[in-house]
């Protein structure tokens, strides 16, 4: 149903997880929301049960890994996961052998990757919209691995 998908795209609740690191990615996202751009309807929520999209920023360690998976499980479907910044996408500078760090892809099915340190503000908003568009077309009901982009 096209109209329903269009409505869903106009109200996206985002839950931000700061897994570890400098917090710049999360701040970039909050800055993007206060800018004057064409993308509207994205709001921040503090409750995973109200969220549509999980924004993971920073390096994931053993402790934050558990919390992130817990948050992901609490989110109702359809839901999207976005890895924001170099740390979340690849571990960046901090990824070493036996460093105990994970990328988002290793623990959750990721819908979008936003690379860069720190990533651009507009890119983050666009990625959220694209990820939510993607999540409706693919198998969002049974969360089988990552969706095709």
């Amino acid at each position: 149903m096209n109209w329903l998908n269009r409505i869903r795209m106009r109200s996206i609740s985002v839950f931000i997880v700061q897994a570890g690191g400098c917090r710049d990615c999360a701040l970039q996202f909050l800055m993007a929301l206060s800018e004057n751009n064409e993308i509207k309807g994205i709001t921040v929520t503090g409750n995973p049960k109200h969220a549509d999209c999980l924004l993971v920023c920073g390096c994931i360690n053993e402790k934050s890994k558990e919390k992130i998976t817990e948050i992901y499980e609490k989110m109702p479907a359809p839901k999207a996961v976005i890895a924001v910044g170099a740390c979340a996408c690849s571990g960046s500078l901090f990824r070493r052998e036996n460093s105990g760090l994970y990328t988002v892809e290793e623990i959750l099915p990721v819908n979008s990757w936003i690379r860069g340190c720190a990533p651009g503000t507009t890119e983050i908003l666009e990625a959220i919209v694209r990820a939510m568009e993607n999540v409706k077309e693919n198998h969002y009901r049974n969360d089988e691995g990552r969706n095709d982009l």
Binding site: S11, S34, K49, H50
Partner: protein, 280 residues
């Protein structure tokens, strides 16, 4: 026929108020980047979402609360006894709280605790206000109160009761210093009044129930003004809308502080008016 029109007008009035809020915010530069119809979009979206983790009771209690809010609205429109309306609204609130508690989650228990403290405050205030209204008018029937008020202006003899009932409205809308933070750090205008354990369509149903509840309080408050009913309803609605904007300039307080403020302002105001009427 008039009652049916009132019934549907009140159901629609609160979403219209939130849409008006979004409309004004969209015009203001550097403010919210939401759509004007965002509250409605979000409601439709919530109906489509699926939450496998939510227990059955959350759905049961959310539907129950919506039903009770509709009954309270009918009673308010038909001009029933003020205390009857309060008792039905209490049932509605208790159902939402029980649903939150039944989730067994930490967030659910936390919001249930806050919900109970809010419930005690608004119920106490309502009962004292009812006593003051009875003392002033000799009746508790809402249609008779509205009729008396149209000629005499109940707000003149019960100004503090009016304020205390308006504070109940602010508590229900989680506004200003009367925000109990029931939904944690929810930043959206729609989510502010919701309980954390609900999600998906149970959240949407609780949201509708909450809109209807605010409508009921607007209708009750409109009985105090010395004007025809529709005019006074619009004036009270505009007051509520202005408090939505005022909320932007007020920092959020810790919920225990909000509870203390609510006791002082809502409970205190109603007691002052009652004592004044009793002795003078």
């Amino acid at each position: 026929m008039l009652k049916i029109i009132w019934f549907f007008a009140i159901i629609l009035s609160v979403p219209v108020l939130y849409i008006a809020y979004n409309l004004i915010m969209a015009i203001m530069p550097g403010q919210s980047k939401t759509y004007i119809l965002q509250p409605v979009f979000r409601l439709i979206k919530l109906f489509e979402k699926k939450d496998e983790g939510t227990n059955f009771f959350a759905y049961f209690f959310s539907v129950g609360s919506c039903l009770f809010s509709l009954i309270a609205l009918y009673m308010a429109v038909a001009g029933f006894n003020f205390l009857f309306v309060i008792s039905v609204l209490s049932m509605m609130d208790l159902l939402v709280i029980t649903g939150a508690f039944s989730s067994g989650e930490f967030s659910g228990k936390m919001s249930a605790k806050r919900g109970i403290s809010r419930f005690i405050i608004w119920l106490f205030t309502s009962i004292v206000s009812a006593a003051a209204i009875y003392k002033a008018t000799g009746t508790l029937k809402l249609n008779e109160i509205a009729y008396l008020s149209e000629n005499n202006g109940l707000i003149i003899s019960l100004p503090f009761t009016f304020i205390s009932l308006f504070i109940i409205l602010l508590m229900k809308g989680n506004l200003l210093y009367f925000n109990f933070g029931i939904s944690g750090e929810e930043l959206t205008i729609l989510g502010e009044a919701l309980y954390t354990p609900y999600s998906g369509w149970s959240l949407a149903v609780v949201q509708i129930a909450q809109w209807i509840e605010i409508g009921v309080w607007l209708k009750i408050l409109s009985s105090f003004l010395p004007l025809p009913n529709p005019v006074s309803f619009i004036i009270v609605s505009l007051l509520f809308l202005s408090s939505l904007f005022l909320d932007l300039f007020v920092s959020k307080v810790e919920w225990k502080k909000a509870a203390r403020f609510s006791w002082g302002w809502a409970g205190g105001m109603s007691i002052i008016n009652f004592i004044y009427l009793f002795y003078y």
